[in-house]
């Protein structure tokens, strides 16, 4: 075994896992938005059969891990995986050398409007757009996109969770007061609708923009807003110290502002990351715990011009378990 002389830091950065089995590694394929073409999938199968154990791990963040690869085959796998990197439009620093970074995790997305009847935006396209902007980057950041407030993508476990919204548009002239919107909003959503004098009144404070009313309206009295809106939730996380759900930051946010906010967040990390962090890795949420939310907010909202409907949280508090303070 003394033959092996591997720079593990570089290996990990190259998106290979250091396996529990000595001499073995696993190749990690990021799939932004969770959509991969069948041909690339075939290539992954090929690599798994040729260099791995013939098995493929589906990761929790919509990526793929090919286990059982011999450490001496890393270069060969990097060469083979090039066609997949090309097909998925992953930013690369050097062709043929595999993934240039692994810190910023795969950008997740539920199927969104591509498939889902409730999807309020193209989650996959947005995940791919974010990927283009942020990758490669060594900073440990998790970003996830979900089509509606059902949050099937579980974005409340991410640092930046993007939840699709629509602002329901009501045409009273097409409303026959069948009350299906009222009933479905109550049963499937938050109960923001009521009947007043034979027409529907929407409680705009309560409405979460899920689009259930639009979905169930049989007469097209309810339709979607032309503008796409988002709820941006911040700094959810799992982990040992303080697992917690992401909290609401901006309601009725626009896409451009979200892009800018995420971009700004990386500058904030560079400024405030703990220089002595283990493996130079500190999750953004813990940095914010140290600097305080105000500092973070100041950074991420730099040059951001929010739309007239945007509602920004004045201050933010996170809950969750505090095992680091109170024990388990």
């Amino acid at each position: 075994m003394g033959e092996l002389d591997i720079n593990v830091v570089k290996l990990k950065k190259n998106a290979f896992r250091v396996s529990k089995v000595r001499g073995e590694t696993a190749s990690r394929i990021r799939i932004p938005g969770g959509v991969i073409d069948a041909k690339s999938m075939q290539k992954i199968v090929e690599i798994a059969e040729k260099y791995g154990t013939g098995t493929i791990d589906i990761t929790n963040r919509q990526g793929i891990e090919i286990p059982g690869i011999k450490l001496e085959d890393v270069d060969k796998v990097n060469a083979e995986v090039q066609s997949v990197i090309d097909a998925l439009h992953i930013n690369q620093t050097e062709r043929g050398k595999g993934f240039p970074s692994s810190g910023t995790r795969n950008i997740e997305a539920c199927p969104g409007k591509r498939l889902c009847p409730f999807g309020n935006y193209d989650t996959t396209a947005m995940a791919q757009r974010i990927e283009q902007m942020v990758f490669p980057n060594d900073r440990h950041v998790k970003i996830a996109c979900t089509g509606c407030s059902n949050d099937c993508a579980k974005v409340r476990f991410a640092d930046f969770g993007i939840i699709g919204m629509t602002e329901p548009q009501y045409n009273p002239d097409r409303c026959v007061t069948c009350e299906q919107c009222v009933n479905y909003c109550k049963k499937r959503s938050v109960g923001a609708l009521s009947v007043v004098n034979g027409k529907i009144v929407r409680d705009t404070d309560k409405c979460i923009g899920c689009g259930v009313c639009v979905h169930y309206c049989p007469t097209r009295a309810w339709t979607r807003s032309k503008e796409h809106y988002f709820r941006l939730v911040l700094l959810g996380r799992t982990g040992k110290k303080n697992p917690r759900l992401a909290e609401d930051f901006i309601k009725w946010c626009d896409e451009e502002s979200i892009m800018k906010i995420i971009h700004n967040a990386y500058a904030y990390i560079e400024e405030y990351i703990d220089p002595n962090a283990v493996e130079h890795k500190e999750h953004i949420g813990y940095i914010v715990d140290r600097t305080g939310f105000e500092k973070f907010k100041e950074y991420i909202l730099k040059d951001v011009t929010l739309g007239p409907k945007a509602e920004v949280a004045k201050t933010m508090y996170w809950g969750g378990k505090h095992y680091d303070q109170y024990g388990g």
Binding site: D173, V176, N197, R220, R224
Partner: protein, 353 residues
Amino acid sequence: MGYVLTQSGFSELVKSLESQYRIFAPVLKKGAGRHLDTDVVLYDFVKSAEEIELEHKSDYAFKEALLPMSETLFFFTEQQTKEADLDERPVLVFLRSCDLHALKRLDDIYLRNGKEIDPFYKRRRDLLHFVLIGCPHAFENCFCVDMGSNLTKDGYVFSIDSAEEGEDTVYRFEVPDASFNTFFEGAGGTKADVQHTYVTETKTRVRVPEEVPQAVMKDALWDEYTQRCIGCGRCNFVCPTCTCFTMQDVYYTDNGRVGERRRVEASCMVDGFTNVAGGGQYRKTKGERMRFKVLHKISDHKKRFGENMCVGCGRCDDVCPEYISYSHIINKVYDASEKVLQAKNAEGGEENE
């Protein structure tokens, strides 16, 4: 007799028609469908030819010209009432053959159903003139041929057919009403012998029973719809022949002595339709509601007015979110009816022996 127009000629035609008529036509509403980035074709008043959707079947029917989804009939205050104003300009309605047949069913219900005519229907009806949109082919779920609504001989002032010819779109008009000739002349129309197109066969076929025996009402075929149907009523709201409405008396909140009476479209599939005082409900299950709706369309209306209500436009099948096929139900009813009649005949035969 007819005319042929180019694209720009058609634009001119609509412009000049619009100066004398309000034009009510199918319009493709971008992004107004149930799901994100899906469209819907529904009827609206248009100002220009470009707005008129001639290619697709409309998702909602022209009947909104006569029966708006929600219509204020009159206002009331203390001892006085005032009828709601109505734009009194004549209206040109663009519709297809099935819908023109549906018009007769609407008239049956609102003008020929007993001693009284419905004045609010009539005042709108008197303003309408019809433009027949030709159908060079059947759409998905259409079964007009089997319902006899594919052919239209009269009742329209002119017809319209559009066809791609090379780079251009050419519009052909059959003009039985000579009083419209001036509009076509003014738009630079070329005289031609034009016949509107119509459908002669459809992929969807139905077998409509001559008579539906009483026993079919109790047939188990209805039960599956209690499970499958969600009672949303889309099938009714898009149907060109559904005529049911409900009334709303609304008292303005800041002055309870002033208000208005509204008529809104109603659906026999939606909860509450058969609710009566004392908490009763005649058709509780969706299966019972489906039976009522289907038999009204292919049997009950005919008993009273001599023609089936359904015109075979297939919009109910197009719109159903649960993929329930009404045309399949018609065929199931046919089979169930045949079975009952055959059993009856067999019994009768034995008695005769």
